[in-house]
């Protein structure tokens, strides 16, 4: 028995010692291993302290991958000494991966993103370069882009990202064939929308398609109702962190109107289990099961690719969200993605940073890339890019988007992108409950007031 006890003690010290040692070893290499690049597109990944090659991660898949890849390839061909290695990653995986990589100091040189609240969290962690002075020295780079695109790149008065790619306002799409069948006209005001809801319901067609499970799709409705009823100031106050900003009477009115619309069966039956990822909401519109749909301008490309003859036959209609009678907001205002954004990791080497800046100045949105984006049905955020629309089969839609983007008094950024990830998650959560009618507008406001400024 004597030996048993002593052996148990060795056993214990052994078992205690091992994890401790391993834990200490684990502390040395902070966070996830630099698995970063390899898995995505095969190219060299996020090696913050690496050699002369700059790295760049972006989203995989159509429509964006081809123009992005081609623009980097042109840049690499023109700059033998300063190359950029790319890694492409799927949308949802990218969001997690880029966050993990940045947190582990393994970010790529060029960080692709949506600006706004996500960018703010990078800035607060000191992970991205301040580009204000660079834009000051290179005014031409800045001046050729839509001024509205810089809002979401600017945090506390400083610019931390280069706006790029396309402008994506949210648009009210409608199925012209369904409107003809019922004998209805596109809505000119919010009152018209309410009438149309009755009319389409009577005809057995869902007035609006909505992918409610995705939550941000519901949010687009609130964005427009808030703007049209109370003007852009209502959400701006939330964004600026004003106390109890959601208690604004216009906010409560918009939330109440939202629930009235849901109670009036304005949305397709079972909308809260429809997802946007599967494009089921798009299918509802082009199959004529629903008459209208509020969606990002990229929906046009999806309808074109999947919707059969709805786009070629001219069956797809589009318009800016109409005004609400007596509302304060300007009906030219819009909301959506004012652009996409490229930041430079502050952990990159000086050489990598130089390559990235050179890419921003000479590579991003060069003439060919603009043409490529137009080819995908997107409007590049470059002033005068509408000249490229001539001859495009999508000219009508492209001109409409260009008009909306350049005529908007206020082009607000989507709320979930504008807010911090923490506040955005609470927002989306409460929106889901609001649309489920399980909380009242006032409860929504109270819940949201609790995370203002977080």
């Amino acid at each position: 028995m004597e030996s048993r006890t002593s052996s148990r003690r060795t056993f214990l010290t052994l078992s205690m010692g091992l994890p401790l040692g391993a834990a200490l070893a684990a502390c040395g290499t902070s966070g996830p291993a630099p698995s970063g690049g390899g898995t995505g597109g095969g190219a060299a990944g996020g090696n913050g302290g690496g050699g002369g090659k700059a790295t760049y991660w972006f989203l995989q898949g159509p429509p964006g991958e081809a123009p992005r890849t081609a623009s980097v390839q042109r840049f690499n061909k023109a700059n033998a000494s300063g190359q950029i290695a790319i890694t492409t990653i799927q949308n949802d995986a990218y969001k997690t991966k880029i966050k993990t990589a940045i947190g582990a100091n393994q970010a790529p040189t060029i960080i692709w993103g949506w600006g706004g609240g996500g960018l703010r969290s990078y800035v607060q962690a000191g992970q991205v370069e301040d580009l204000t002075s660079w834009f000051g020295e290179n005014a031409a780079v800045k001046d050729r882009l839509f001024p509205g695109a810089f809002g979401a790149a600017t945090i506390d008065g400083k610019i931390y990202a280069m706006p790029c790619e396309t402008v994506q306002p949210i648009v009210l799409f409608y199925n012209k064939k369904v409107f003809e069948k019922v004998g209805a006209q596109p809505p000119q005001s919010y009152g018209d929308i309410l009438d149309l809801v009755k009319k389409f319901n009577a005809a057995g067609i869902a007035p609006f398609s909505l992918a409610g499970q995705s939550r941000w799709t519901n949010m687009m409705w609130l964005e427009f109702l808030f703007d049209r009823i109370g003007g852009p100031e209502v959400f701006q106050a939330v964004f600026d962190g004003e106390k109890d900003a959601w208690n604004n009477p216009a906010s409560i009115e918009a939330l109440t109107k939202m629930q009235e619309l849901i109670k009036a069966n304005a949305f397709i039956k079972g909308f809260s289990s429809v997802t946007a990822d599967s494009n089921a909401d798009q299918a509802l519109l082009y199959t004529g099961k629903a008459a209208m749909m509020l969606h990002g301008s990229w929906s046009y490309g999806i309808q074109q690719a999947q919707g059969g003859d709805i786009v070629p036959s001219g069956g797809l209609g589009w318009m800016n969200f109409p005004g609400v009678d007596g509302g304060k907001g300007d009906p030219t205002n819009t909301v959506g993605n004012p652009g996409q954004y490229l930041s430079i990791s502050s952990k990159a080497t000086p050489e990598q940073k130089e390559i990235a800046k050179k890419f921003f100045a000479t590579g991003v949105l060069d003439d060919q890339e603009q043409k490529d984006w137009v080819g995908t049905g997107g409007v590049p955020i470059v002033k005068g890019s509408d000249k490229l629309f001539a001859g495009s089969k999508d000219a009508e839609f492209l001109n409409f988007i260009y008009g909306v983007a350049s005529n908007a008094k206020v082009f607000a950024q989507s709320w979930d992108q504008a807010l911090s990830p923490t506040a955005a998650e609470v927002l989306l959560d409460n929106i889901a409950k609001l649309f489920q009618l399980s909380i009242t507008p006032q409860q929504f406001a109270t819940n949201m007031n609790a995370v203002i400024g977080k």
Binding site: R4, A22, Q127, I268, G270, K433
Partner: protein, 306 residues
Amino acid sequence: MSAINARRTSSAVAPKARGGVILPWLATPALVVFAAFALIPLVGVLLLSFTSWDTLGEIKLTGLESWRAVLSDPGLPHALWVTFLITALSWAVQTPASILIGVFLAGRQRYRELLAVLYFIPLLLSSAAIAITFKALLDPNFGLGAGLHIDLLNQDWLGTPSLAMGVVIFIVSWQFIPFHALLYQGGVRQIPRSLYEAAELDGAGRVRMFFNITLPQLKYTAITSSTLMIVGSLTFFDLIFVLTEGGPGDATRALALDMYKRGIQANLMGQACVIGVILVLVGLALALLLRRLGGRNPNASQLEGA
């Protein structure tokens, strides 16, 4: 013990002390793996639960702040309730069904062996694939009901809170009943034939034999199976995530999903770790409880009692 004794007698060279030195080393591979993949992450989670970390910046030590935030959140009792419902209901559905199917499959008839193979198929599919398939089938506009024009099937399955919960339970059961049926099948086959023969001689019917012999003899199998079910459903994530993302509203937002949403989507790693700790504690408590249930009366169903 018997192995050690055997070695001691067979090899005269091995002194008493040597068995005591070697024995702990034999456990090291298992210990290393356990430490690396269970203990260290667990300690990490516990430590992180006393911090605030947005996964990007510095990890700030904030004491009990994350705990206070989670414990005062009305979402927590709701998530606990949802988790409890999923656990309890899926146990209540799966256990009787698994026992019946297991007993049925324990028979040696050829057609039963064939059925056993067929029943096993759902277990071979990944949860994500199952969720995507059911989601498509249950789609209110393009799903099975709409396609076949069967109004009964044309419900808003995943958009109504109670129906969504029912669907989750159904799919979980559909996926895991085969596994537990397999456990019970093995259990039934180990019951000595002599028990049934004796009962037959005493004139017991099949129903009587099932309740008085099969069920009591399956006690330990039931405890194993229940532990797997209950502890497993505590951390049920993938299926719910793909199927409903915790919706509609927060009707199916179980603890594991809540943890993911806080940690990965809302960047509140501290709070997510608090939920992680709670999950571990609840899981441990339940596992211990189940062990107690099994251990209290060990004479009840030992095979030697035959």
